[in-house]
Assembly symmetry: D2
Homo-oligomer: 350 residues x 4
Amino acid sequence: MSGDFVKVAIVGSTGYGGVELIRFLLEHPKVEIVSVISASSSGAPITDGFPHLINLVVQNLDGVNVQEIAAKADVVFTATPSGVSGKLVPQLVEAGLKVIDLSGDFRIKDGAVYEEWYKHDAPGNDLLQKAVYGLSEVYGEKVKDEQLISNPGCYPTATLLGLIPAVKAGWIDPATLIIDAKSGVSGAGRGTSLTAHYAEINENFKAYKVNKHQHIPEIEQVLTDIHGSPVTVTFTTHLAPMTRGIMSTMYATLTGSHTNEELVELYKQFYEGRRFVRIRPAGQWPATKEVFGSNYCDIGFAVDARTNRVTIVSVIDNVVKGAAGQAIQNLNLMMGWDETLGLKNAPVYP
Amino acid sequence: MSGDFVKVAIVGSTGYGGVELIRFLLEHPKVEIVSVISASSSGAPITDGFPHLINLVVQNLDGVNVQEIAAKADVVFTATPSGVSGKLVPQLVEAGLKVIDLSGDFRIKDGAVYEEWYKHDAPGNDLLQKAVYGLSEVYGEKVKDEQLISNPGCYPTATLLGLIPAVKAGWIDPATLIIDAKSGVSGAGRGTSLTAHYAEINENFKAYKVNKHQHIPEIEQVLTDIHGSPVTVTFTTHLAPMTRGIMSTMYATLTGSHTNEELVELYKQFYEGRRFVRIRPAGQWPATKEVFGSNYCDIGFAVDARTNRVTIVSVIDNVVKGAAGQAIQNLNLMMGWDETLGLKNAPVYP
Amino acid sequence: MSGDFVKVAIVGSTGYGGVELIRFLLEHPKVEIVSVISASSSGAPITDGFPHLINLVVQNLDGVNVQEIAAKADVVFTATPSGVSGKLVPQLVEAGLKVIDLSGDFRIKDGAVYEEWYKHDAPGNDLLQKAVYGLSEVYGEKVKDEQLISNPGCYPTATLLGLIPAVKAGWIDPATLIIDAKSGVSGAGRGTSLTAHYAEINENFKAYKVNKHQHIPEIEQVLTDIHGSPVTVTFTTHLAPMTRGIMSTMYATLTGSHTNEELVELYKQFYEGRRFVRIRPAGQWPATKEVFGSNYCDIGFAVDARTNRVTIVSVIDNVVKGAAGQAIQNLNLMMGWDETLGLKNAPVYP
Amino acid sequence: MSGDFVKVAIVGSTGYGGVELIRFLLEHPKVEIVSVISASSSGAPITDGFPHLINLVVQNLDGVNVQEIAAKADVVFTATPSGVSGKLVPQLVEAGLKVIDLSGDFRIKDGAVYEEWYKHDAPGNDLLQKAVYGLSEVYGEKVKDEQLISNPGCYPTATLLGLIPAVKAGWIDPATLIIDAKSGVSGAGRGTSLTAHYAEINENFKAYKVNKHQHIPEIEQVLTDIHGSPVTVTFTTHLAPMTRGIMSTMYATLTGSHTNEELVELYKQFYEGRRFVRIRPAGQWPATKEVFGSNYCDIGFAVDARTNRVTIVSVIDNVVKGAAGQAIQNLNLMMGWDETLGLKNAPVYP
């Protein structure tokens, strides 16, 4: 690294993940944005498509040129679609850049599993194995000094942070796991389609990709790692009429007898010292708006004595903790900085 | 009954259930609205509070006076809060009126169970036993010629219509039932509270009353009846940022091996001839907007071979099929009319 | 006309205007839908794209074939884009069909003005002159027995109904007219674009096409006709984060001294006997939700003694009174029926 | 002032203005929040009502006690309702505190005018005259070293920033000014009422307080000051179905002949060096979402040669630039700091 600031480039600056990276990195005390990159809009001011950045970002968009990126930047965020990252990231890594990838291309360690769920070719196995899965509060130690971080998916982040302490402690039976997840529309990106049309989404609640979402193998891979033997989950995704926010409502049978208070204590210990996970007092339920625009993940519990099941509710802002925020948290961890740099802001409420 | 039209009165005309009854009954070919009644706003034109009814309803609101109601009306809809109906309905029944009650006061047959979940006194046992539970497509035959119909709750309607055929056929294990339900805000009524404040609800998704919702015993009572032995469910309620609509996403382990197509066929047979339940083709998921403003309940399925579970999605408009629409459907059944009278309109889309 | 029902075809059935025509025509006592037509989706069931119509419309979509339409139908609604109608309507008229056109192609009598604002060629002058402008409450008498009705635009409908009585009476100075209009997103149709993307529209209020909207010459043409000499207006369009609804807030200097009550009286007299225009009492303001899903246009006033200006607020549902509803109202007038047939439903509230 | 940080207290911490002050002040490099105060919830943790602040604010709410405030704080923000501030602020000023008042109580210099529009008693004349009107970009110089700042209203901020350069330059005729303003619901505060009920606001656009809003005399007072002779405006307020955001669409007749480009240049010069006002290029219109969550005011123009009128569009986030953000900007100016301290964040998009 040269100079006082780490120099970062953002590939995919004209997507929602990209502009959210910009919003946070502008406030980051140790980072300078040296290039905002877009394959589709190269040459134009980014403020043409995003006037909210007027006065804040004066750069024109650059094209995707690995040598130019390598000449300017120390670290690259690739907020590119699945399939694109798989081809671009190897070149960036080869050029000696540190990479934090926000696509899903480097999350699944088994290329065959990747291809089954993503429906296109997996990246090469070497890089798949090299990539560290950056679920910051769980694998943060592994992120430090690595070159390639695979940033977790939005649904897996909310889901895994809500499940891992209980799975690791053996308090819930992973075979009984049912995950009912809900997301705002920004999770599907800025691309135009009928399923993103305001008049189709507003005043509507819908299920989609039931049992087929590509985040299922990502969740199972991590839970299997934590549990020590294979875990298979039922996972349903829904679209809620809102822009940001994910809630995972998760159901599992308790292996023993535990109270809400004991679960709160278990989770508080697990996440001790981690600012961005907030365990709610027994009987209090988090709502997505309570983390809007911030890097927090809030978690609440309800044990049901009648069924011996626990219901766990976990919420994040999909664009922040589920994408750009956690990516910056991973940058901080990679660099050995305080993980909260540039991310301390309170949620925007209301 | 006298004359060509059945004369109906609506107690609770200034709630959302009340004005929705008015919207549909204005189009009903065999009904005349003879009195719109409100305990709180008696004497004022209903259009003071609901200007959308200008030119459509010219009556002033009447007060709650059982003798006056009996003098004018043949049938009364009581769209009154739980606790109020419990006291009023016995007087209306005593006065010889037919009553369709939209509160929850006459749904739970066991007074002790009622009091545990509703937190106040149950109505007398005689009337509890007399009331027929009006889930039209399931208990429609029992409704005919009865005097007191207890109209089902909004969540139970969506949930039970989605579960009963599979439970009855023994295709799913009721012990594994997990119900993740989502509702629009109108379900909580027109009363003002912080939890209904626009700025708190908009761009927000939240869980509430987890494991404690009073619709749980209602669902269990019916499933127990269908199944033949006690059924206990896990049931979670969420508030979605929309005005109307309920989705129940339901999970259960299959007892045998069944395909989506077989489930579609089972449900189509069960609901044969019933216009308001629409079974979606295998692989298609209903959305709440697709029933907005109408009396339809749409149901879809996804069998997951990996877990041997089925996911069932059921949607209704909570104000229509979950309240006013089904109440009118019950009126039709009670009178021996075609159940669709006054209810044939297509959903409003978009 | 043959048989008991008038046979109608709908070209453009897969747009929002088209499905709304279907929703209302299904309830119309004198109409049979004989063909739902879409240039882009011919051959498929309409319920593939619009599952809300399951059980209600079982027809497959037909292609655009003038001879087939003429063989089946008496009347055609052309809910086609501007430019398409201009080419299709002459053929339908030539084939002897009655046509109600929902595009803007036949509204502007002066082809040169059309081309200036619409930016493409105008239809031939003969048909432009033949077309009757179907602002039902103003030109309803002229619609009867005509063959080609040009259905008014959404903004002009709300605006003109709110201005005409005062302009005709000479109570306001047309030179001072400023019209600030707001619309829901459905007004722009079902086409996908970034400007219809949920995440871009939600929690957003924006201006667009300021001074350049193609509805400006339509408004001016009618006001000029009413006033008797040329009227030029300032007209601004805004997009509100909602699906349906238009509000025109209109400002003008009073020529004399008039009270709110006098304006109410003037408008009530002008619209006497017309069910779909509702003049609000002095001091009461209509809201778009109060006409949602219905054919009503509600109008309110505020005279400001300090400035001698009047503020007029007019609201409609853009998909109903601003498109499909008024088109059916024009069908009714064309056929000599009661103008309210099939359109009597109350607004959907909430 | 003692120590490194200025110590601030916030009265009215449990309103939307209060929690927004907290959100920004937590990031302010020169401020310490020493007391969060609420008349109604004293003693409870603020996170009981605002769980989004968990981990961020650990203080309990204090009661309103002038002596305690004076003992702890240097500066007080009074985000209290109109009427309450009028009584509290004199005591705080008397106790030697610097006060930035967010109510409207000290904006109108003429007590009689205040009472006509606010419908209750005005504060004493001495303090009315002492209070400096903190429209930062216009009266910022006057704010420095003052003790009592009256923070502008949300509508006046958007409106005045959009009008003042043109009025001051004499380019528009103030007698022709018509202001059509739209606001999100948060502007009405967190109090519960039917007019804030989600089901009444969602999918609704409504006018309110037409010609009667208390921000009218505030706008006129400032425009009169700028223009040099009395200005009277037509001002209409609307409620849009969104949480945050104000747009003022403003119409005036040009006194001479000016192009959009000239207006852009005039405004850029007027606001030179002021980061928070962004003048859009000719032909580009700002939208409320483009300033969401930030202290920006964005302004665009359209001259209409046909009418010789200009349309000016000005947008702000009502909770930030219209309340808490400008209040902090005024704190910065009062202290002689860079006006952007703590306020630099980009808008949250989408």
